[in-house]
Symmetry: C2
Subunit: 361 residues, 2 copies
């Protein structure tokens, strides 16, 4: 805990040092200041560091500390290697390590469009409804919409913050974050009381990417924190999805750039589920397609059908000539089309049946 | 010419037969009817076939016939192998074989949305404006918008029809097709007077794909003629692009499916140009990105900048503690930030400069 107070998230040298000595010995070494490997930047906060204060703050919000080796520690964080966190400050009733692979990050721009928020809340709802944990950053816009969708489905949602878990940021999402803490998890790598900084936002994004099986970007401007999350996810071997939008919308420009760089195009919940499903499981069904009169006909069948007049009957020979097909074959095809109710014959020849509204057989 | 009157486009057996004998001998063999390889379907139209009538009709619209071996014959059609056309009926002042690789098909749904038509006409304009020939099918919706855009740029556009070039279809685009014939080309594989049929639409689509270096789909329903054009293009080794749109719009569903299957995401003219450009030429510039205060700073620079208060000055030691960085390093970083005009020092310590609206240096 002291260590997470002294050292900023993602400090590789600190991480390697702590791994070499063990965290406790490393913290003592920083206090002694004699080990030559100790960096000055780890010592600057020694004066203000008081673990008891941190714990009291954590207690006030009914939080807990989760460290590597705990049952609840998410094993997937090992993928971060020398950028892995040393402790997580957690609020909420859910076992953080439980979700495993069936976890999707739904992230995106703060300055979201109504379209983006609609899609994000729809994805949040759909994923949570299918038992998948929805992870996001509790920011305005896309993040909040994704959390809200998951909450509406009474599913599990996890907010990863760039500040202390006792200090919800942004303020305007205070109530949302409390709701998430009530049924899901609110998580931070920085101790209680910490303010969000640009550095911590970036590191928070790496945590979102690492904690989830896939990251889906709903809306993002061209250069944005969201694209960092997506890059982290790709670097960590996680799936990256992007939701398309109008090319005229700057809010979708970042998503389109991701699509140009190999992200999977996500248009429906099922396609997001597919990202975190094993081979053969959870594959998105092809959406139903419109049904036409000539469905299931052979190419020649279509040609013959097209050659049968709509109103004025024509003899089979004329139909064959119009279709450019062998008359013998056309005769048998016409009989087949008659059985399907698409054409009918009278004394003057063949004519199209007025079809009932088409329905798949 | 007689051959193209007797045989439907894309008839592989007819194509192989004509290749084996030569077209003239093949046509004679169909008339004789003695060669056992002659299919009945090629003979059914003999009665009505009159090349002189076809030519008279062609003359009335000031058209011409282009056959393999002509200077104007587009060599790229050889890629169609045993589905290549034997003659093209052409109107318009442009040399059909001239465009070569710098030709893009812009195609899509007839039932297009205003968004789709806007994007299609923008692409048509942008491509034509860069000297690229815009090919489409003259249908309502996306096709017409693409042609119109190209015409507005005073560029070259080519309409490939599923009916005779003297018989513009659809009727409502009659004036548009005349305009195209006036400055570009109107092309058909079927002789004058022919009606469009479903079969001919499919074969027309193969011709659009074959004639162009890339096919860009602007809007398409899930199962549609447009997806056939895209599949043809991919099968022929042409590039396939798709324009994304709102996931809530059925008109974009076909495009999103193409994106999921490997089509290139196209959001701007430059990205469409890239599809028909050689390696290193015509590469789309990354669009300009918004400029932020911390652009070009090192990660530590950003951390120090974030640690400098906005209003109440703080001593360098406090800045170092907030940033979690070595005070010696922070001192030099602060000096650097001061030179960039981002922070300033007074007696009480360091504070952020109120920045002028950021502009790229």
């Amino acid at each position: 805990m002291l260590w997470s107070r002294l050292v900023e998230p993602g400090d590789r040298a600190a991480c390697r040092f702590a791994h070499a000595l063990g965290v406790e010995a490393a913290a003592r070494a920083v206090m002694d200041g004699e080990d030559p490997r100790v960096e000055q930047r780890w010592r600057v906060r020694l004066a203000g560091a008081d673990v008891r204060v941190d714990l009291r703050r954590l207690e006030r919000v009914d939080g807990r500390v989760v460290i590597p080796g705990d049952d609840e520690w998410p094993a997937v964080l090992d993928d971060l290697d020398d950028r892995a966190p040393f402790c997580l400050w957690v609020r909420g009733p859910v076992d953080l390590g439980r979700s495993g692979r069936r976890t999707v990050a739904v992230v995106g721009a703060r300055a979201a469009s109504p379209y983006g928020e609609q899609v994000a809340s729809g994805l949040g709802f759909g994923l949570a409804d299918r038992g998948i944990t929805v992870v996001s950053g509790a920011a305005y816009g896309i993040d909040a919409a994704a959390h809200r969708g998951a909450l509406a489905a009474a599913g599990t949602t996890v907010a990863i913050l760039a500040c202390g878990v006792d200090r919800p940021y942004p303020r305007g999402n205070h109530r949302l974050i409390e709701q998430i803490a009530g049924s899901g998890n609110v998580v931070s790598e920085s101790p209680p009381g910490c303010a969000p900084t640009r550095w911590r936002f970036v590191q928070r994004n790496r945590l979102i990417a690492a904690l989830t099986g896939a990251t889906v970007v709903v809306e993002a401007a061209l250069r944005s924190g969201t694209s960092i999350t997506a890059r982290e996810a790709a670097d960590l071997g996680r799936e990256v999805g992007a939701v398309p939008g109008p090319v005229t919308s700057p809010s979708s420009a970042g998503c389109h750039e991701l699509l140009r760089n190999g992200a999977v195009c996500i248009t429906r919940t099922e396609e997001a589920v597919e990202l975190v499903s094993g081979i053969g499981e959870g594959l998105a069904q092809r959406p139903p397609t419109p049904v036409a009169e000539h469905d299931g006909l052979s190419p020649d069948g279509v040609r013959v059908l097209d050659a049968v007049p709509l109103r004025r009957p024509a003899p089979a020979g004329t139909v064959a000539r119009t279709a450019g097909l062998d008359p013998v074959q056309v005769a048998s095809t016409l009989a087949l089309l008659e059985i399907r109710g698409l054409v009918r014959a009278d004394a003057a020849g063949w004519v199209r049946s007025r079809p009932a509204p088409a329905r798949r057989a």
